[in-house]
């Protein structure tokens, strides 16, 4: 695929634009804010230079990628796109409005992908007529480094859409995995007990934060323990994901959030970004 549209130039949109441009696609990068677009281009530039310094990409690849990205504040050029990837705010109504606009701006063949991490693809697709072309493409942060993309099949997604989407992911140099549209998809769902049981163990007084992390690293062989990982992700973000899974499954007890998380969020102890979470980062 040669021409891609991206809606939303924040953390994820800019990262996905970077990945698409390197893979040789022409990229129309859209955002409602010009300021965000300028910042996104700056960030992509910084990452491209880093890539060249670390000899991950050549100078030619970097300049090719640079000229492949065209920022825009309208959907005018989106009629040329084979795929549009939406990475705007995580809000069902905003995403539905965007998809409605895209349906008018694009050709009937264009595939519409959403990068949502917690909303239902089926629910987003229901806002437009041609639901068979709507798919989830869940990238991980930062998109240019993380190898995985979950390709999410909504209730109405066609086989053709699934195949083309998986091909695009491979073209980006990433690994696609196919998953049904269910809360948390694969990764966010199966990772729940990693945090949830660690919090229960802490709450039950079985071991301390430091000990649980040390055990998970040295006995389990994981790169990071659950508490240091929650501090990195953001305790508020982790709590929101757990809560959303719990609510979407009508109170499945395996996803029940823990009081410890809520107390820390209420106290403003969100992890590394506030310098205090399960550990102290103020020094």
């Amino acid at each position: 695929m040669k021409t891609i549209g991206i809606v939303g130039a924040g953390t994820m949109g800019a990262g996905i634009a970077h990945v698409a441009a390197i893979s040789g696609c022409r990229v129309f990068l859209h955002d409602i804010s010009d300021e965000v677009l300028t910042k996104a281009l700056e960030r992509i530039e910084t990452e491209l230079q880093k890539g060249v310094e670390k000899t991950k990409i050549t100078a030619e690849q970097a300049s090719g990628a640079r000229s492949n990205i065209q920022p825009t504040s309208t959907f005018n050029d989106f009629s040329n796109c084979e795929v549009v990837i939406e990475a705007a705010l995580e809000d069902l109504e905003i995403k539905r409005d965007i998809f409605r606009e895209l349906e008018t701006a694009c050709t009937p063949e264009t595939i519409f992908a959403s990068n949502t991490s917690s909303l239902s693809i089926t629910a987003i697709a229901a806002s437009i007529k041609s639901t068979a072309r709507v798919v989830g493409l869940h990238f991980f942060n930062p998109p240019h480094l993380m190898k995985l993309v979950e390709v999410i099949r909504g209730n109405e997604t066609s086989e053709h859409t699934m195949q083309r989407s998986a091909e695009l992911v491979s073209q980006f140099g990433k690994t696609p995995v196919v998953v049904k549209d269910t809360p948390g998809f694969i990764v966010n769902r199966i990772a729940r007990p990693f945090y949830g049981e660690a919090l229960r163990l802490l709450g039950e007084g079985v071991a301390s934060v430091e000990e649980i992390d040390r055990i998970v690293r040295l006995e389990g062989g994981f790169k990071m323990g659950p508490f240091e990982l929650m501090d990195l992700i953001g305790i508020d973000v982790n709590f929101a994901v757990t809560r959303s899974m719990y609510e979407q499954t009508f109170g499945e007890p395996r996803y029940r959030p823990h009081l410890i998380q809520q107390t820390m969020v209420n106290a403003g102890m969100l992890g590394r970004k506030t310098k205090r979470g399960f550990y102290d980062y103020s020094q």
Binding site: A198, L201, V206
Partner: protein, 248 residues
Amino acid sequence: MAQSRQTIFLMGDPSLVLELGEICHQAGFAILYKPASGKDSAPFPKHFKKVNTIPRTVFVLCELSLDRELKKKNLLFIDKAAGASAVILSSSITVTASEQASWIRRPSRLVGISTMPTLLSQKLIELAPTIHTDKAVMARVQEFFARLGKELAIVQDRIGMVMPRILCMLINEAFFALTEHIASPQDIDLAMKLGTNYPRGPIEWADQIGIHSVVTILEAIHDDLDEDRYRIAPLLKQMALGAQWWGT
């Protein structure tokens, strides 16, 4: 006899006896083991010496089964046969060390350990002393694991301990996802390794641990905490009974 401190006696789950026995062998210990219920299920290497009684001079004895009835039988045997000053290390994932200590004549010499299949060769092992455990016994246990080059984490004596509980619950969630056909087993494993850096995929990990052991641990946790949160994925239970899964 000076020899005695160089010898370790093992009994219980054959794959764990093999896994821990190898580590002890590498550290220079002589290995004695008593095969499970008369017959050798796993072919043990030559340096594992099969015995029917425990020489009274052996200092460290390990019981490595997850099944409660078997564990009780083995511990009663060990307690009777072992010399008075010997220490007993027993897997305490499915039965607390405190309960196990209550089965034997001298509860002060028993310490619980986390013997999670596939994790015994890792750097760290969890220890669960009981309220009865003697200080001198703990010192001896620490000395023993130092010789194996292991780091220790002392945890409260609870069913599931720390790593076995987290790991088995990850596996349980993956099997719920499989039961619901949300993705293929290969894609689930790949996603967890690439998307969140797990050292192994949960499904392949379950195979390596042994589905039966995973279910035994989850059953013990479910019985103990008695909450719906710990109910076991139907597919996992059925596979533990020897069923073949055909997949999507």
